[in-house]
Symmetry: C2
Amino acid sequence: MDTAELQDCIHHRFAQVKFLENALTHSSFANEQDGNDDNERLEFLGDAVLELCISEEGFRRYPTAQEGQLTRIRSQLVKEQSLAAIARDLKLDKYIRLGRGEELQGGRDRDALLADAFEALLGAVFLDGGFDVARRTVLAIFEDQWPARAVIPETKDYKSRLQEVAQELFRDRPVYVLAGTSGPEHEKLFEVDVTLPGGEKFRGVGTSVKRAEQEGAHLALQFLEEE
Amino acid sequence: MDTAELQDCIHHRFAQVKFLENALTHSSFANEQDGNDDNERLEFLGDAVLELCISEEGFRRYPTAQEGQLTRIRSQLVKEQSLAAIARDLKLDKYIRLGRGEELQGGRDRDALLADAFEALLGAVFLDGGFDVARRTVLAIFEDQWPARAVIPETKDYKSRLQEVAQELFRDRPVYVLAGTSGPEHEKLFEVDVTLPGGEKFRGVGTSVKRAEQEGAHLALQFLEEE
């Protein structure tokens, strides 16, 4: 297999080309030809390599984004369709070794198969060169794919969610009562009691009434979700 | 916060203690006290760090395990309950900074909260020391938790699965017919046609009739699952 061009594309020269060949071997091929391992173990590894590289870079690029926004951006970048497009850019569909049945079936152009092969390729780079090399490869490939900003605002609105959940469970609303305040004037804390239609009570504390309500609603939601 | 003992436990001295403090700050605390970031972004990062470290080590420890077995072992090791137990061993429940409402609610002993804090801690180690340091920490912590062997056999039995699926969809069975053989005697390939009750036909190729049947069933399953 002549993979020089592919190795140029991913900016990594394999010391052990067997890793690369393994990544490009679909199970349907391994099934036909004894003595070939398929790429499924490497895919398992590469999936985790990709996840960490994208997580770390998202963490650095969007210093004010909340966890939910980072998760959403990552999902967008690593979804099957996106990875299949990258695989086609790298011409993995030309390199991959398929069995005859899979070939007849059109497997060479199947998104899932191509996305898996791309992940396996990253697993191979990681084994061959270590984490920093794999990271460099991932970051180069994804360079143009990051959104300019973590646009979608994360609405951590526990109060609204509790409203919905309570309506569904009890056909009634939770009640919020300001229970008191504490602390000196310049760093006053507010305490709000949230009572569910079932009678359970939760105290939220925060630097504003709004925050205390949110915190109380959060506790109530945790309680309901653990029921 | 005196975290010397904790840092001993994880065999890592933080160069930037602020990462560690951040990992030990629950959102309920950040909500009460302005100027403290909560640990959710670090948890996002640490989750991916943990996944890669465990994936890589599983890959190395079980060189003959299939992807499905590796996935199962990993799930077992990183499930919430396991991580909460580790968090308690490290006494994270003593260190973590909670808001008053969460404290009253018993949050200090909640599995989900403790597991999240452990993941955040790994995110902090990764930021402070890099991947190799985080890996060393993870491997030391999980040292005794690996099963002796990847015991549960992975049954990649496509033929049985296709049987079930066909029964459900068509109330009928797929038909397997040996279509032919090819290649020289010492590396003969068998070709089997699998026909679904709906009439669709799939050709499996393999070094034995059994393998060819499995391959044909695999193709048929892919077809049905993409329907």
